[in-house]
C-alpha cells in the first residue's frame, strides 16, 4: 500500500517537473500558430523565421558577447579570490568568503537597482560594458565556489612533496596546484557563462535599447504577445543549457576519475 502511494507520488512529482518543458518544446515545430495540441503538422518554418529575423539574431549575438566577457572577468575575479583565500588565516577566510559569496544572496532586483544607479552616476551608463561588469559580479561567486572546492579537495601533501623536492612556491603553484584545480576553473567558467547568458533581471535594469540580450527580448515578447517564435527561442535557449549541462558532467567525470 505504502509502495503504491510512494510510486504514484514520485511519478506525479516527476511529471510536474518534466512535463511542462517536454510538452512545450514540440509546439515550436507545430504548423499552426496556435500554441496548443493536437499538433497540426511539423514544420521548421518558425525556426527559419527566428533565425532570419535580425532582432532575434542580434539579441543572440549580444547575449553571446556579454556572456563571454562576463565569463572571462568572473573567471579572473573568482579564480584569484579562491586561490588567495585558502592562504589566509581562518577568521579572515570566513570574512572574505562571506564577501565573495554575497552577490548570490542579494536579490537580483536589488542588484539591478544598485548597478543601474551606481553605473549611471559613474557615467558608465547602460550598454555592453556595464552588462559585462554586472554579470561578472553575479558569476564571480560561482567561479569562486567551484575553484575553492577543487582547491580544498587537493591532497595538501602534494604541495609538501613538491617542496621537499626543492620546488619554490610559485613553481609548485604552476606545476601542481593549477593543473589539478583546472577542472574547477572550467566548471566555474561554465557556471558564469550560463548565469550571464540566462540573466534577465539585472539586464532589464541596465540594458539600453542597443544592447538587448536574448532573455530581454524573450521577456518583452512574453509580455507582448504569445507567438511561435517565442517558443522557438525558448527551445534554443534550452538547447544551450543542455549543451552546458553535458559539458559540466564531462568535467565532473574528469575530476572524479583520478581518485578512483
Amino acid at each position: 500500500m505504502s509502495r503504491v502511494i510512494f510510486w504514484s507520488t514520485v511519478t506525479f512529482c516527476t511529471a510536474f517537473l518534466a512535463l511542462p518543458l517536454l510538452l512545450v518544446w514540440p509546439l515550436a515545430f507545430n504548423t499552426s500558430s496556435f500554441l496548443t495540441y493536437p499538433l497540426e503538422g511539423l514544420t521548421l518554418d518558425w525556426f527559419h523565421q527566428v533565425l532570419t529575423q535580425p532582432t532575434w539574431v542580434n539579441a543572440f549575438l549580444k547575449s553571446l558577447k556579454v556572456a563571454l566577457g562576463a565569463m572571462m572577468l568572473a573567471l579572473a575575479i573568482g579564480g584569484l579570490a579562491a586561490t588567495g583565500v585558502i592562504l589566509v588565516p581562518r577568521v579572515l577566510q570566513v570574512v572574505l568568503t562571506g564577501l565573495f559569496l554575497s552577490p548570490i544572496v542579494v536579490p537580483t532586483v536589488v542588484v539591478g537597482v544598485a548597478f543601474a544607479y551606481a553605473f549611471g552616476r559613474a557615467g558608465i551608463g547602460g550598454g555592453y560594458f556595464s552588462l559585462v561588469l554586472a554579470h561578472a559580479v553575479l558569476g564571480a561567486p560561482l567561479v569562486f565556489l567551484s575553484v575553492l572546492t577543487s582547491l580544498r579537495g587537493l591532497d595538501p601533501n602534494l604541495d609538501l612533496a613538491g617542496a621537499s623536492m626543492g620546488a619554490s612556491r610559485s613553481y609548485r603553484f604552476r606545476t601542481i596546484t593549477l593543473p589539478l584545480a583546472l577542472p574547477g576553473f572550467a566548471a566555474g567558467a561554465v557556471f558564469a557563462f550560463i548565469t550571464s547568458f540566462d540573466e534577465v533581471v539585472v539586464a532589464l535594469f541596465l540594458a539600453d535599447p542597443g544592447s538587448t540580450t536574448l532573455p530581454i527580448a524573450l521577456f518583452a515578447g512574453l509580455r507582448d504577445r504569445l507567438q511561435p517564435s517565442i517558443v522557438v527561442v525558448a527551445v534554443l535557449l534550452s538547447a544551450v543549457s543542455l549543451l552546458f549541462l553535458v559539458l559540466l558532467r564531462r568535467l565532473q567525470m574528469r575530476v572524479a576519475a583520478p581518485k578512483s
Partner: protein
C-alpha cells in the same frame, strides 16, 4: 596530525592574489549596494533646490520662511521648477499647481507671509509648509514612512496611514511561505527517489532535476505561460474531458503564479535535500527493520530526522530566492499577485522614483539578511552541539 601546515611565506602571495578581487568587489558590488542605502534617505535632489530655506533651519519666523521660499523658487529654471513640483506632488496632490504658479510669479510677490497667502491661500495651510520644510533637509525618511505606511501628523506624532506597501510585503511573505512549503512537499519525494530508488529510476529523476535546474527561469516560465493560457493545453484538456464548460482563467492570478514559482524553484529545494540523503547509508534502514520497526516507523524515526538539515537548507534557499523573485510572478501573476521586487522595478522603470525603489530594496535586503543571519546562527548552534557531544 591534522595541523595541516599552512604553506610558508604565503602572506605576501595571498595579499597579491586578493588585492584585485577585493578591490573590484568593493568598487563594483559593495559600493553600489551601499549607495542604494544612501539613496533611500537621500533628499539632495530636492533640498539642493531649497538652498535658502535649508540654510534657515527650524523655528524661523514666518516672514523669513516666505522670503527664503520665494528666493528659492525664483532662482529655479522652468525645467527645475517642473521637477520640484513633480516630486512634491508625489507627497501631496495639488502641490504641482501651487509650486508652478507661485514659482512663475516669485519675483513679483513681496517676500512676506501675508503677501504669499494673499497670492494663493493654500500657503496658509501648515500641511504644505510641513512637506516643504521636510524636503529642505538633505536626509529624509519620507520613503520609509511611505513604504511602512506611517504618517507624520502636523504635531510630529506618528500614526499608520496608507499601508499599500506593508500589504505588499505581507503578500510577499505569504507567497514565499506557500512556495517554500510546496517546493518542499513536491521536492522531498523526488529527492528521496533520486537518492534511494534503483539505479535506473534515480538516474532518470536526477536527469530531470538537473535538466530543470539548468534550463533558465525565463524558459521554464515561458512553458507555463504557454500551457496555462486561455487556449492553452491545460484548458484544452479540461474542456475536452468535460470538466469545465469553457476555458477557465489559469494564469495572471495567484494560482498561476504559485504553480510557476513552485516549478521554477523546485530544483533549489531538491538538490540540497538530495545531498544530505546521499550521505545516509541504506544499511541504517535495514538495521531499523531488523530491530523490529515497520517501514513507516523506520522512515519517521530513523530517516526523516536525519534529512531535516537538507530540508532546512533547501527550504531556506527557496525562501531567499522567492523573497526577491521578479520574473516568474511578473509573467504569470495578476496585479494582485505582484511581490516586492515588482514594485521596486516599477518605481525605477515607470515613475523614476529612485528613492522609493531604494527604500523598498533596503527593506527587502533586511528581510533576506535576517534570514541569512538566522541560518548562520542555526549552523553555528548545530556545529557547537556537535563539538559538545564530541
Amino acid at each position: 596530525m591534522s595541523s595541516a601546515p599552512r604553506p610558508y611565506g604565503s602572506r605576501a602571495a595571498a595579499l597579491i592574489l586578493l588585492m584585485l578581487p577585493v578591490a573590484l568587489y568593493l568598487l563594483v558590488f559593495v559600493y553600489p549596494l551601499s549607495s542604494v542605502v544612501t539613496l533611500s534617505v537621500d533628499n539632495s535632489a530636492l533640498s539642493g533646490r531649497f538652498e535658502n530655506l535649508s540654510a534657515l533651519g527650524t523655528g524661523a519666523a514666518p516672514d523669513d520662511e516666505a522670503a527664503a521660499l520665494l528666493a528659492d523658487l525664483g532662482g529655479m529654471e522652468k525645467k527645475q521648477l517642473g521637477e520640484v513640483a513633480r516630486m512634491l506632488n508625489q507627497q501631496r496632490s495639488g502641490f504641482r499647481s501651487l509650486i508652478m504658479s507661485t514659482g512663475k510669479e516669485a519675483e513679483g510677490i513681496t517676500p512676506t507671509m501675508a503677501e504669499l497667502v494673499a497670492f494663493d491661500d493654500r500657503w496658509s495651510e501648515p500641511g504644505y509648509w510641513e512637506i516643504i520644510r521636510e524636503n529642505a533637509a538633505p536626509i529624509t525618511w519620507k520613503h520609509y514612512q511611505r513604504a511602512l505606511g506611517i504618517t507624520v501628523a502636523e504635531d510630529g506624532s506618528l500614526s499608520s496611514g496608507e499601508d499599500l506597501y506593508l500589504q505588499v510585503m505581507l503578500r510577499t511573505l505569504v507567497i514565499t511561505f506557500q512556495v517554500t512549503l510546496l517546493t518542499l512537499l513536491v521536492g522531498y519525494p523526488l529527492a528521496y527517489a533520486a537518492a534511494n530508488a534503483s539505479a535506473r529510476v534515480s538516474t532518470f529523476v536526477l536527469a530531470v532535476v538537473l535538466l530543470s535546474f539548468w534550463t533558465s527561469v525565463l524558459v521554464r516560465t515561458t512553458a507555463w505561460v504557454v500551457l496555462l493560457q486561455t487556449n492553452g493545453l491545460v484548458n484544452t484538456v479540461l474542456v475536452s474531458l468535460g470538466l469545465v464548460a469553457e476555458p477557465v482563467q489559469l494564469i495572471f492570478n495567484r494560482f498561476g503564479a504559485l504553480l510557476a514559482m513552485t516549478h521554477v524553484l523546485l530544483p533549489f529545494a531538491i538538490l540540497p535535500m538530495l545531498n544530505v540523503m546521499r550521505t545516509i547509508p541504506p544499511s541504517q534502514a535495514d538495521a531499523s527493520r531488523s530491530l523490529g520497526a515497520g517501514p513507516i516507523e523506520t522512515f519517521l524515526r530513523v530517516y526523516f530526522p536525519q534529512t531535516l538539515r537538507g530540508v532546512a537548507v533547501g527550504g531556506g534557499t527557496v525562501f531567499i530566492l522567492s523573497l526577491g523573485f521578479y520574473v516568474t510572478p511578473a509573467l504569470t501573476g495578476g496585479p494582485e499577485d505582484q511581490m516586492l521586487a515588482w514594485f521596486i522595478a516599477d518605481f525605477v522603470n515607470k515613475t523614476l522614483n529612485w528613492g522609493m525603489a531604494a527604500a523598498l530594496s533596503v527593506l527587502l535586503l533586511v528581510m533576506v539578511a535576517l534570514l541569512v543571519a538566522v541560518a548562520g546562527l542555526a549552523r553555528w548552534a548545530t556545529a557547537r552541539r556537535k563539538v559538545e557531544v564530541a
